[in-house]
C-alpha cells in the first residue's frame, strides 16, 4: 500500500516536470556564482559575481577577450603622449544606453568620480589612482579629478601622475565601467548600461535574468536570454549540471580527478590557464623567517610535484616566481625549488637553527587549502620545521595575515588584468604591505625600484625584461612558498556552442554563445 502511494506520487510529480531537459531550454544558464552580487552598480564591484554581472550590463573603455587580450570597447582607439603621461581616448560614436541616453565623454568622468567618491562606499579606487588628482578627489580635497578632461563628446583626455604603460588594461576592470550621468533611483538594482545584456529581474540569492540588448554596438547576443544562478553549494551545482539544468559548471578543485577519470564526463571538460597563483605567504618580518636561508629551506622542504598530482590531479604549473607562464616576463627556463629535505636541513643549520624551527601555518577553512596545509605540515616536519596549523574562517584569516600576525599563510591570488605587474606589484612591493596584498611584508629596495621602473617603462621589451629581473630577485629571496598556477576546469554541456571559459573572470560576455539543436541528453 505504502509502496503504491510512493509510486503514484512519483508518477504524478514526474508528469508535471519536463524542465530538466536542458537541450530544449531556451535560456542559457550559468552556475558559477556562489553568492549574491553585492550590487549591479559598477562602482561597487569588488567581488567576482558582481564583476561578472556588471560586465554583462556595462562596458568600459576597454575590455578583455576570453583569452585575456585587451581590446577596444567604448574607446575605439587611444593615443599616448611621448612622455607616457597623457592618454587621449577616442570614443565610439552612436552608442546608446539601454534607456536611450546617448553615450558621451562626460559620463566617463562622472562614472570614475563615483568610483572614487567615499560616499558611494565602493572601496575600490585603486585602478583609477594612477590618474592625476584621483587621490586628492577621493580625500575630499578637490571637487573634480584634475587629470580627466573632456574636450568634446567623443574624446576623453586622461593625465596620469606618472607614466604607467599598462593603464588601458586596468580600464577593462568592471569597476571602471561607464554608467549614465543621470541615474535612476536605486541604481544598484536598476542598472542602465551600454552592455550586451539588459537586466530583466534579480531574485536575490536565487538568480539574475538578462535579455539581449538588441542595439548592442558589438552585435546583439545570439541567445534568447541568460540566467546566472546563485548556487552556494558546489555539490548542488554539480547535481544541477548533471540534471541538464545549467550549461556551465566550474569544477571544484577537490573534484577534478572524479571528472577526469569518467569517460563521459571528460568529454565535457574545458581547461583554462587561469591567472591564479596558489602560494604560501611567508611573513619576512617574523623571527627566523627574516633569514633568506630559512625561507629557501621551507621552499626546498616541499615536494610540490606530489602535492599538485595528489591534491589537484596535476592541474597546476609548478611556480618558479610569481609570473604565470602565459604572461610576458615569466622566465620559462628558471627551475623552481627542488624537493630536497637534506638541503633544507642544511640551510636551516647554516642559518643557526640546527634543531629546526617552530612556525604557525595559517589557512582559511576552504577545503583545498586545508588539505594543502596538512600536506605542507608533513613535508616541513621532515626538514625539522614544526608547523602548527591554524585554521580560521576566511575573513578572520585574511585579516590576521594583513595585520602581520601569521608566519605562513596558504592563499591564492587571481589576476584582475593580464599583466605580470598584477602579481609583482601588489604581492611583493613594499608600498602594498598588509592590506595592499603584500602579506609577506616583503621589503627590498632593489625589488621595489625594479617594479617601479617597470611600471613607468613605455617600451614593452624593456618593461618585460624588468619584470623578469624583479621576478628572479623575488624567487631567490623566497618571500613565499611558490606552489603552483592553477588551470581552471569547467564543464560545458554538449548543446552549448561558442562558450570559451574566460582567463579573467569578466572576460566572457556570452554574446556569441548558442544552443545547438536538441538531441544529446
Amino acid at each position: 500500500m505504502r509502496c503504491l502511494i510512493a509510486i503514484c506520487l512519483g508518477l504524478l510529480l514526474s508528469g508535471c516536470g519536463g524542465e530538466g531537459d536542458g537541450a530544449n531550454r531556451r535560456t542559457l544558464v550559468d552556475s558559477r556564482d556562489n553568492y549574491d552580487p553585492r550590487s549591479l552598480d559598477p562602482a561597487l564591484s569588488t567581488d567576482v559575481p558582481t564583476g561578472r554581472a556588471v560586465a554583462y550590463l556595462f562596458d568600459g573603455l576597454t575590455r578583455f577577450t576570453p583569452d585575456a587580450k585587451v581590446v577596444p570597447a567604448l574607446a575605439t582607439s587611444w593615443d599616448v603622449s611621448a612622455d607616457g603621461t597623457v592618454y587621449t581616448f577616442h570614443l565610439r560614436r552612436g552608442v546608446k544606453f539601454t534607456d536611450g541616453t546617448p553615450f558621451v565623454a562626460r559620463q566617463v568622468a562622472t562614472s570614475w568620480q563615483r568610483v572614487l567618491d567615499p560616499k558611494i562606499k565602493g572601496g575600490r579606487g585603486w585602478p583609477l589612482y594612477p590618474i592625476k588628482g584621483a587621490r586628492e578627489f577621493a580625500d575630499g580635497k578637490t571637487r573634480t579629478v584634475e587629470g580627466i578632461s573632456t574636450p568634446n563628446d567623443s574624446t576623453v583626455v586622461v593625465t596620469l601622475k606618472e607614466p604607467f604603460a599598462i593603464f588601458p588594461k586596468l580600464l577593462a576592470m568592471p569597476v571602471a565601467s561607464i554608467a549614465p550621468d543621470h541615474m535612476p533611483a536605486n541604481f544598484g538594482e536598476n542598472p542602465v548600461g551600454t552592455g550586451p545584456w539588459k537586466l530583466v529581474e534579480w531574485k536575490h540569492d536565487d538568480y539574475l535574468l538578462f535579455s539581449p540588448n538588441a542595439d548592442y554596438w558589438g552585435g546583439a547576443p545570439k541567445a534568447d536570454s541568460l540566467k546566472a544562478r546563485i548556487i552556494a553549494e558546489p555539490s548542488t551545482a554539480v547535481a544541477e549540471f548533471e540534471s541538464g539544468n545549467v550549461d556551465v559548471l566550474q569544477i571544484p578543485q577537490g573534484d577534478i580527478r572524479a571528472w577526469e577519470e569518467d569517460a563521459e564526463r571528460k568529454k565535457l571538460l574545458a581547461s583554462t590557464p587561469s591567472l591564479e597563483l596558489v602560494y604560501v605567504a611567508i611573513n619576512t618580518t617574523r623571527g627566523p623567517l627574516k633569514d633568506i636561508r630559512v625561507r629557501q629551506a621551507i621552499n626546498h622542504a616541499i615536494d610540490r610535484r606530489v602535492l599538485v598530482r595528489n591534491l589537484i590531479a596535476g592541474r597546476g604549473d609548478l611556480a618558479a616566481g610569481v609570473i604565470p607562464s602565459s604572461l610576458p616576463g615569466s622566465d620559462k627556463t628558471r627551475i623552481g625549488y627542488q624537493f630536497d629535505t637534506l638541503r633544507a636541513r642544511k640551510l636551516l643549520a647554516d642559518a643557526g637553527y640546527p634543531n629546526g624551527i617552530d612556525v604557525e601555518l595559517w589557512t582559511s577553512t576552504t577545503p583545498i587549502y586545508v588539505r594543502i596545509a596538512e600536506t605542507l605540515q608533513g613535508y616541513l616536519a621532515l626538514a625539522g620545521i614544526r608547523a602548527k596549523i591554524v585554521q580560521r574562517e576566511s575573513a578572520a584569516a585574511r585579516e590576521a595575515a594583513r595585520k602581520g600576525q601569521t608566519d605562513l599563510f596558504v592563499k591564492d591570488w587571481y589576476a584582475d588584468y593580464p599583466d605580470a605587474e598584477n602579481f609583482l606589484y601588489p604581492l611583493l612591493h613594499s608600498a602594498n604591505k598588509g592590506v595592499g596584498g603584500n602579506v609577506s611584508f616583503y621589503s627590498n629596495p632593489q625589488y621595489d625600484s625594479l617594479v617601479t621602473l617597470s611600471r613607468r617603462e613605455q617600451d614593452e621589451t624593456k618593461r618585460v625584461a624588468l619584470y623578469t629581473q624583479a621576478d628572479e630577485l623575488a624567487f631567490r629571496e623566497a618571500p613565499m612558498v611558490f606552489l603552483y598556477f592553477y588551470s581552471e576546469l569547467n564543464a560545458i554541456q554538449p548543446w552549448i556552442g561558442g562558450f570559451v571559459p574566460p582567463v579573467i573572470f569578466n572576460g566572457q560576455p556570452w554574446t556569441t554563445v548558442t544552443k545547438t539543436t536538441a538531441g544529446h541528453r
Partner: protein, 318 residues
C-alpha cells in the same frame, strides 16, 4: 502599564499574551546588546571585507569614517538603538540596501520552507507515532523506529545531498534545487523535516502508549465507542501536550536556522542571508537579522504556550 496585569473583564489569556509581549522587550534588548558587543569583539573587520583583496590604508580609513566605525562604541550603539526605535534596521555595509527590505524579501521564503517541513513532520510523524503505539512491536512500529533512527542520526546536509542525488539526478522526479512552485519545495522540506518526523514519531508513540492505557480510554472503550474515536478524540488529545512542545521548538528552530538546508537547495531564504552577512562581516545585516529572528522565536514560543491551553483546558494562565 498598570492595567496590563490584572483581569477586570479581560480574559486571562489576553492578559497573559500582553504580559509575555511586554517581557519580550527586555529579552530582545538583551539580544541586541549581546549581538552588538559580540560582533565588535569577534575578529574580522567589515571594511576589510568590503574592499576585497587589494586596497590601501587611505581607502580603508575613509570607509571607516563614512560608516562611522571610528565612533566610540556607546555612540555607535546609541545610533543603532535610535534607528531601531524609528523602525529602521539600517543599511547593509556591503550592498547599501536597507536591511528591512532584505528581511521582508527573504523571510516569507524561510517561512514557507519551515511551514512545509512542519506540515510534513506533523502529518507523517504523528501518524507514524499513532500507528506505532496501536500495535507496539508490530511492523509499523519497527518501521517507525528505523525511520526515527535515520532521521535523528543523519545530518541534514547529508540527507539533503542524498535526496538530490536520488530524486533529482537519478530519478528526475523533482528539480535538484532552486525556488519556485511546490515541486521545488518537496525535497528541502522533507530534508529539513526529517528530524522532526523522527522525533515526533517517537514522542507521539510514547505519549500515546501512556494515554491508551489510561482509565478514561478503557472507559471509552467500555461504553462501546468506535476505536477510531477512542484513539483520535480521547487518547491523542491527551497526548498532545508533548507533541505541541516539540512542534513549537522545532518550528522556532526552523524559522531561525535552516541555514544548511537553504544552502544545499539554493533556497533564497533568511538563513543564507545571515550566513553571507557573517562571512562578509556585514554588521547591520547580522544585527538586524538576529534581532528579527529572536522576535520570531519569542513569538513562536508564545503561540506554543497558547496552544497548550487549546489542547488541555486544565492549563491555566492566571
Amino acid at each position: 502599564m498598570d492595567d496590563s496585569h490584572e483581569d477586570d473583564g479581560r480574559s486571562p489569556v489576553t492578559a497573559f499574551i500582553i504580559r509575555r509581549l511586554l517581557l519580550a522587550v527586555p529579552t530582545l534588548f538583551g539580544v541586541l546588546v549581546v549581538a552588538f558587543l559580540l560582533l565588535y569583539v569577534a575578529p574580522g573587520d567589515p571594511v576589510m571585507a568590503m574592499v576585497g583583496e587589494r586596497a590601501d590604508e587611505a581607502t580603508i580609513a575613509r570607509l571607516r569614517a563614512e560608516l562611522r566605525l571610528d565612533d566610540p562604541l556607546p555612540v555607535q550603539f546609541g545610533h543603532y538603538i535610535a534607528g531601531i526605535a524609528r523602525g529602521d534596521l539600517g543599511k547593509s555595509y556591503i550592498t547599501n540596501r536597507p536591511i528591512k527590505r532584505d528581511i521582508i524579501e527573504r523571510f516569507p521564503k524561510t517561512l514557507q520552507l519551515a511551514g512545509a517541513a512542519m506540515l510534513l513532520a506533523t502529518v507523517l510523524g504523528v501518524t507514524l507515532g499513532v500507528f506505532s503505539a496501536r500495535n507496539p512491536g508490530g511492523l509499523i512500529d519497527r518501521l517507525g523506529l528505523a525511520v526515527a533512527y535515520l532521521g535523528i542520526s543523519f545530518p541534514v546536509y547529508w540527507v539533503g545531498l542524498l535526496f538530490i542525488l536520488l530524486f533529482a539526478v537519478t530519478l528526475h522526479w523533482l528539480p535538484p534545487s532552486g525556488f519556485g512552485g511546490i515541486r521545488y519545495l518537496v525535497l528541502p522540506a522533507l530534508a529539513l523535516g526529517m528530524r522532526s518526523i523522527a522525533f515526533l514519531a517517537r514522542m507521539t508513540r510514547s505519549a500515546m502508549l501512556d494515554s491508551l492505557s489510561a482509565d478514561y480510554v478503557r472507559t471509552a472503550r467500555a461504553k462501546g465507542l468506535r476505536e477510531g474515536l477512542v484513539v483520535g478524540k480521547h487518547a491523542l488529545r491527551n497526548a498532545l501536550i508533548p507533541i505541541i512542545t516539540v512542534l513549537g521548538l522545532d518550528f522556532g528552530a526552523y524559522l531561525t536556522g535552516s541555514i544548511l538546508t537553504e544552502t544545499i537547495f539554493s533556497w533564497p531564504g533568511l538563513g543564507r542571508y545571515v550566513v553571507n552577512a557573517i562571512a562578509r562581516r556585514d554588521l547591520p545585516a547580522i544585527q538586524g537579522s538576529v534581532l528579527f529572528l529572536s522576535a520570531v522565536f519569542v513569538l513562536v514560543n508564545l503561540i506554543t504556550d497558547i496552544a497548550y491551553a487549546k489542547a488541555d483546558p486544565r492549563v491555566n494562565y492566571a
